[in-house]
């Protein structure tokens, strides 16, 4: 097994830890760049959706995977980004301006929520975010003058100066480019003082506090950053589907984003991208399953939700570390063959973590 020897701090925070990683990421970058030449229009469109989900996934991962705060209301931030983008684009502002504003508006909403919930943790936070998302959804439906209410808003094309994003491959490059920027930004955040504070909060709020981490401050920072990234994803999402209504941004979307990070693997940015791939491919897989089983269309809605729910339960029971965790296990199995022991990854049970005592 390859155990990297760390001899300096700089080495520890390097983005590419050793040479082999660099080669693999290089190959991945080549494949991503070459995709428009090789893939069909439909596949390319799906890859763009994947990139959008992955951006939201990175935002969600910062909050859930690294800072350990559960959110059941991220659809509200997707909606904030999407609506800001749609409204400002309709007013004729350039995309280079509307995208950051969309992120900022979602981030401001996140900050507002953070101010209300800075003292909450765990379950209470989850339910507060849920409540917040319901309120935002209702506001979007009722504020018809601004959002068009439940009849929705059409979203125009992206124009970057003289360049119009009118072909699928252009949108693909834009989405992937933004994803790369977001991932690099997140990596940079995570290896900083702030990033370490977030992990400390996740592992134990009390220990973090004793070490001098300002809980409310860092929780607000991570919620704002997470909301802003999700808002950027929302702006892209609006352009991708070109028509937005409030009922796209329900609790189901929030749950979808939570499933994304959990299935991908909590606490890894790889997980955010893997989880996005899972979320994008799942409907296709269900479609195939439906054709194979020849399910009548009457049960279609039920089947979708059922497969979704079943996968959530099974992942939690049997692969709580998600897809990325599975990959790590396979890698370790190959590296240490034939000495791999299942117990290496056995879950620790924590009986004394009562929410009632604090």
């Amino acid at each position: 097994m390859h155990v990297p020897m760390t001899t300096s701090y700089v080495q520890e925070i390097r983005l590419v830890r050793h040479g082999a990683d660099g080669i693999w990421y290089g190959l991945l970058a080549l494949a991503v760049l070459a995709a428009p030449a090789l893939a069909s229009e439909y596949l390319l469109s799906q890859l763009s959706v994947l990139a959008i989900y992955a951006i939201a996934g990175v935002g969600m991962m910062l909050l859930v995977g690294y800072a350990g705060q559960i959110s059941l209301g991220h659809a509200a931030f997707v909606a904030a980004g999407a609506y800001t983008e749609a409204i400002l684009r309709a007013k004729g502002l350039p995309f280079a301006l509307t995208l950051p504003i969309a992120g900022a508006v979602a981030g401001a909403l996140g900050l507002l929520l953070a101010l209300l919930t800075a003292r909450l943790a765990g379950l209470y936070l989850a339910i507060a975010t849920l409540a917040f998302a319901f309120i935002v959804e209702e506001v979007l439906t009722r504020w018809e003058g601004l959002t068009g209410g439940s009849s929705g808003l059409a979203v125009g094309r992206i124009a970057l100066g003289p360049l119009t994003i009118d072909a699928e491959w252009k949108f693909y490059y834009l989405a992937v480019g933004l994803l790369v920027a977001v991932v690099l930004g997140a990596l940079n955040l995570l290896r900083s003082r702030t990033g370490r504070a977030l992990t400390a909060i996740r592992d134990s709020e009390i220990s973090a506090q004793s070490m001098g981490v300002h809980l409310a401050l860092y929780k607000s920072i991570v919620l704002t950053a997470s909301a802003a990234l999700t808002g950027v994803a929302g702006a892209l999402y609006a352009h991708k589907i070109q028509f937005i209504t409030p009922d796209q941004f329900t609790i189901l979307m929030s749950v979808e984003l939570l499933v994304l990070v959990v299935v991908g693997g909590l606490g890894s940015l790889h997980g955010a991208v893997l989880g996005a791939a899972f979320i994008v491919m799942l409907p296709q897989a269900i479609m195939v399953l439906r054709d194979v089983l020849a399910v009548s269309s009457k049960f279609q809605i039920g089947l979708d939700a059922g497969v979704y729910g079943l996968l959530m339960v099974l992942f939690m029971l049997f692969e709580p570390r998600g897809l990325y965790g599975r990959w790590v296990k396979i890698k370790l199995y190959l590296n240490t063959f034939p000495f791999y022991r299942r117990a290496t990854f056995r879950r620790q049970r924590q009986y004394q973590k009562s929410e009632r005592l604090r």
């Binding site: 209300l116 909450l120 339910i127 917040f132 959990v262 039920g302 059922g306 049970r349």
Partner: protein, 295 residues
């Protein structure tokens, strides 16, 4: 006087809906107290219970009370089975894992209900012997469905109180909720107690579902009322039984008044606005049960 009688009417119908929230919230709180698990599928269990009630009463033609009891018994078995098969391996896992697994259970229940022949995604109704009639209380006419809900809630609260205070089993459940380890050491069968908690909570869900059916009909999405019960449970401080009841009543009454006096749209979010305000001011809910946390 017109305004006053309308107000009283609103308060009473709000109380009835609040009782529904309160019982659903009680279901959350019981499970939470016993095992620190938040059951996001409580609303869907209620929906399943209502469908079972519909099957016994509407399809099989049983008397209302017999059908209600049978539905509760079936749901108790389902609740215990859920605990045994899905939740027991999750004991001691982080909060988000349990949140996700119970949301998943809710999805599965919904899809099973849609897929079963005779249930599906249509709307059904259960006719109770008292439905469609009203009683006059001091000049205010109240539907008997609402009165039945209020009465059932009172009976249920009394029964739960007596159960937890005066029976061996109830006291064992209290001990388990205070410390699983200590309860285990004094010889309480903790695992069976947890299954029993789930059974009681699921049976309560069935009761609410069947009582609610004459008012809102039986359909797949009636489980979303569970999402309104969350604010109720949190408002009262998640681990407190009286808190859940008071929280449910507050939410129900505030919602009814907001629906009547405020513009359209406020009714649906009143509960959530109230929740955010309370949490911002008192992070542990109105009836906080907290002690210093050990590291």
């Amino acid at each position: 006087m017109q305004g006053l009688s309308e107000f009283v009417q609103m308060v009473i119908s709000g109380t009835a809906i609040g009782c529904i929230y309160a019982i659903v919230a009680l279901g959350f709180v019981l499970i939470y107290k016993a095992s620190e698990i938040v059951n996001f599928a409580q609303g869907d269990l209620m929906m399943l219970g209502a469908f079972l009630g519909f099957t016994f009463i509407g399809i099989a033609g049983m008397p209302f009370l017999l059908g209600l009891v049978l539905a509760m018994a079936c749901m108790a078995l389902i609740g215990a089975a859920l605990d045994r098969i899905v939740l027991r391996p999750m004991v001691g896992q982080p909060v988000f894992a349990i949140v996700i697994i119970t949301i998943g259970i809710g999805f599965v229940i919904r899809s099973v209900v849609i897929a079963l022949p005779g249930w599906g995604s249509e709307t059904y109704s259960i006719s109770a012997p008292y439905s469609g009639t009203a009683s006059a209380l001091g000049g205010v006419a109240i539907g008997n469905e609402l009165l039945a809900i209020i009465a059932a809630t009172l009976v249920l609260i009394l029964a739960l109180y007596l159960f937890f205070r005066h029976t061996r089993l109830g006291i064992a459940m209290q001990a388990t909720s205070q410390s699983q380890l200590a309860a285990y050491h004094v010889g309480i069968p903790v695992k069976s107690i947890l299954s029993l908690t789930w059974a009681i909570s699921a049976a309560m869900a069935a009761l609410v579902g069947v009582l609610l059916a004459p008012i809102t009909f039986v359909h797949v999405n009636m489980g979303f009322i569970g999402l309104k019960a969350f604010p109720a449970a949190v408002l009262g401080g998640f681990g407190s039984i009286p808190g859940a009841i008071v929280g449910g009543l507050i939410i129900g009454i505030v919602e009814a008044l907001a629906g009547f006096y405020l513009p359209e749209g406020f009714k649906d979010v009143a509960a959530y606005v109230l929740l955010l305000v309370v949490l911002a001011l008192r992070p542990q809910g109105l009836f906080a049960q907290t002690a210093a946390k050990k590291v």
